[in-house]
């Protein structure tokens, strides 16, 4: 069966049988992916480590209930998804008020609207990498929690729609519409920055035709 061909499932079966070495191996093997994913979701490295650690502890606590059905990583990311969604919701509840005050450059702007000033005056020089990262971070943070999870799994874990659906407990169709809305929002937020990372826009020559010798 597929189960035993997946080395991670074999490893998890050893964890289920209370093999502590196997658990240590599992942590070693998945820590980078989990911390990476959590970091992209919450945008904060300490928080990401805490969450990743929580995922591993939950794996350990529920090890006896584990049955090898799907790919192991799907099961692991399902746990990660639940924890991350909870954490993100908590975070939003805790920070929604201060954010409105702090993040608005202009009186009366709601958080979703704070990007407008950036867009109306797109930077003319190449943005520094960190600045660009901050802009991208903000665009990602403006997605709702589920959109963010779907994007992060799709972009950074290379998961296809069916895998994301498994992890998030949705239909493939649901994932398709979730991702398309997320991508539309990202495009809306990041479109002015596309050519700010150093690459020339494809129509640059057309635009500057008159001035070129």
């Amino acid at each position: 069966m597929m189960a035993l061909r997946d080395p991670d499932i074999r490893l998890m079966l050893r964890v289920r049988a209370d093999d502590q070495t196997a658990f240590a191996e599992l942590v070693e093997r998945y820590q980078h992916r989990l911390v990476g994913i959590m970091g992209h979701l919450v945008g904060h490295s300490t928080e990401a480590e805490d969450l990743a650690q929580e995922v591993f502890l939950r794996v350990y606590r529920t090890r006896h209930k584990y049955t090898p059905k799907a790919k192991f990583s799907t099961w692991l990311f399902t746990i990660a998804n639940n924890l991350a969604l909870n954490a993100l919701r908590d975070k939003r509840r805790r920070t929604v008020l201060p954010l409105e005050v702090q993040d608005s450059n202009f009186q009366g702007f709601r958080p979703g609207e704070t990007r407008a000033p950036d867009k109306s005056a797109p930077p003319t020089q190449h943005l520094q990498q960190e600045e660009l990262a901050a802009v991208v971070r903000r665009a990602l943070d403006d997605l709702n929690e589920r959109q963010r999870v779907a994007v992060v799994l799709n972009k950074f874990e290379d998961m296809n729609y069916a895998e994301i659906a498994d992890v998030m407990g949705l239909t493939t169709k649901g994932v398709k519409s979730l991702l398309s809305r997320a991508r539309a929002k990202l495009r809306d937020a990041l479109q002015p920055y596309i050519y700010m990372d150093g690459a020339a826009p494809p129509d640059a020559e057309d635009q500057e035709q008159g001035e070129m010798p």
Binding site: A24, L57, K176, S180, A184
Partner: protein
Amino acid sequence: MTPTPPTDDALPDDPELIAYLDGELDADDSRTVETELALDEAVRTKAEEYKKTYDLLDYLPKPEPSSTFTTRTLTRLQPVLSTSSVSVPVVSTSGTMPARRVRVWPELLFWAVALAAIGGAGFFGHSLAEPYLNPPPETEKFDQADLPLIHDLPLYAGVDDLEYLVKLREGGVFEADATPTAAVPGTIAAAGEEKVSLATQQKSIAQFLSFPPARQQQLRTLHRTLNELPTKEKSSIESTLEAYAVWLDRLPDATRTEILSATNAGERFEAVLRVRERQWRESLPATQQKALKSVATVEERTQFLRELRQREQAFRREWELTHHHWQPNKSEDQKAWPFNTPALAKSVDEYIRKGFGVDLAQPIDKKGDSAAPCRLSKDELIELKYRHEAAYKEGYWFSYGACLLQLAEQHPMLPEPGKGKPLTQIDQPPLSLMTVRRLVKNDGISLPNRFKASLGRWPDFALEIAKLDSNSKEKLPPLGPCRPGEFQDDVELFLKEQLFPKLGKGEREKLDGQLGKWPDYPRALIDLAKAKNLSVPGAMLPGEPKRWNDQFRMTSPKK
């Protein structure tokens, strides 16, 4: 002029276009989108923007776990482990359970002493529930010199004297409970200073004063003799003491009484062994419980249990070893073998270069098909690079060694020929395009695609051809060196001076039986070398194979 206005027209989403970009559409739907793309420039621009904005996400810094992540996670596991291994409900303060061996037990364990006092068992019998029913006795009566002892009082419940503790340690009764992390030097000293609340101290004082003078004296002697021990011995005994105290603390009341009510140290020791044995049997997995029930005679039963125990001990040793190795070791002299010997470490790097086809100095090609033929998959390559870096930068030698061992097993190497290039190409003698075409069934796949995974790689390509050849009438000449004289100089020397002299007559005859056969002969060489704990140069990881196994194999002995 200006790029597409970025605002409102962007917000209606395009599920089909995006699914197309993600490669999620079937052929029919893909064609529909492709037609749109071909006809409509606006759609093309939009697609480009979707792609580029998604690419911008690559600017996000990728968080990496800190170097202590695994250790910290495993440390946090310790409370989980100990609560799950015992079927007893745990004290409600489990949230404050320190994961390391630190001296915060007194507060946690206070209730154990109190309970024993209320239960009126053993040497606590006289005290009754006095401290709880009456206001605390006049604590001024107590001698300040006893304060350090009182601080540790909760640890001493159920302990008669130092000999008792030594007996517990020598018997290895609580070996399994002592956490490997506890062995990390410095934790005790660092944690020794925490404050015990005044209320707790008051209670402990009251507790102590409620003991009969004989027990008070016994405790003073215990505390004094324990603290007079040499540091190393003291910390070893303390680790047993703490494991014992925590264990006692978690026992159901009735069981705890069974131990506390023993009238002397000897009886108490017997009671501890009895309860431990009972717990151990109850904790066995269902299958083993069942197997145990099916054993008929007492002798068989004893034998069965003994074997189980032995296996468990072996497993524990391995766990400790693993855990020990998992700790990063930064100092030069603590590098693990073989990396601590410059010559050997260099040969390992050489093996990585030739045996795996990996140049660790080169960045990983993101596209996955670099020019140099690498024998590892992209994931394996990333893993290897990461382990290598973690070892040399952070001291994670164990995982690096384990990774190398695993890769070497997944991609076994064979000695290269002494003359000429090893066979890695379709048109290289003794092969020719024609011969290979004859070997391959005509399935419409082009030859370079057919051998994509092995082309350019030794011995993968030759092995694939040899396999096809064995199923055909072609009968090609040997595809690699398969008799002495055909290998490279270092291998020839190794055979002559190291391997052959060690072979018995039978072994030599068996080996000679494979002469002229490839890959059988070199494989037989490698098997024999393994059996003699030798490493064939360039074809096996450098250094004794047994040592690689002992140090880096991660399988548990229970199979």
